[in-house]
């Protein structure tokens, strides 16, 4: 009984999330009006203007290194910090007895 109720409530929550995320009658953030879809879904803009604005024919690289450059900078910082932390944790700090 409790498992059935739990599964049904999970299904209900999933359905509500799908309804909220739907672009036609879901929840809308940001600018109002009719052209909210233009500001929210920018993929067509990148496909149309990426080559002339950034120059690379690989649109994903255009987005990653130019339009979303801060994100890539943070990603590189995360990689650097994680590897520095891994090396700092794994290195031999002092001469342990028996080594």
């Amino acid at each position: 009984m409790r498992r059935t109720v739990g599964a049904l409530s999970l299904l209900f929550i999933l359905g509500m999330l799908l309804l909220i995320a739907h672009p036609n009658y879901g929840l809308k953030f940001g600018l109002g009006g009719e052209d909210w879809q233009k500001y929210r879904y920018t993929d067509q803009y990148y496909i149309d203007h990426g080559i002339e604005e950034v120059g690379g024919t690989n649109i994903v690289t255009d987005i990653v290194f130019d339009y979303r450059g801060y994100d890539t900078l943070g990603e590189a910082t995360v990689l650097f910090t994680s590897i520095a932390g891994a090396v700092a944790l794994l290195r031999k700090w002092r001469e342990e007895n028996g080594e």
Partner: protein, 148 residues
């Protein structure tokens, strides 16, 4: 001796490590033209380095891989990435000034010397990811704590 694998694995590693390295370098160098980029190509080349470490053992890798040099090169890759982002600082951070009005890297879209700072950033990120992953795996192999 002792930590390397058998003859079959070593022969296959000798045959495949150059091919993996060449493919990774291609992915990094053509990051602004074809699918892939710095992260993916750097991880591919790091796969070649890790294959070398696994197949030939730690003692052989210790004589070939200088881990201090690799740690330094990782920082250099990050710095080159940051400097390439700062090139167009007169307009904005991450402004692609080499592509709009730069002396180099402003060829036709689709050629190798195009797309402004994208090839520089791809090379920098590829170097950073390659040296970083090899350093991490090498540190895990080198500084193990458990007893024999």
């Amino acid at each position: 001796m002792g930590s390397d694998m058998g003859l079959i694995v070593k022969t296959m590693a000798r045959a495949t490590i150059p091919l993996i390295g060449i493919f990774g370098a291609y992915v990094v160098a053509h990051g602004h033209l074809t699918p892939g980029g710095g992260f993916q190509g750097g991880a591919t080349i790091a796969g070649a380095g890790i294959l070398f470490l696994i197949a030939f053992g730690l003692n052989e890798a210790k004589t070939r891989i200088n881990k201090n040099l690799y740690s330094a090169l990782e920082g250099v890759g990050g710095l080159v990435f940051l400097i390439a982002g700062m090139l167009g600082l007169g307009v904005a951070f991450f402004y692609n000034t080499l592509w709009h009005n730069g002396p180099i890297f402003n060829g036709e879209p689709g050629t190798l010397l195009s797309a402004g700072y994208l090839p520089i950033m791809n090379l920098a990120v590829g170097l950073k990811v390659y040296t970083g992953l090899v350093s991490a795996v090498f540190a895990m192999a080198l500084f193990r704590r458990w007893r024999k």
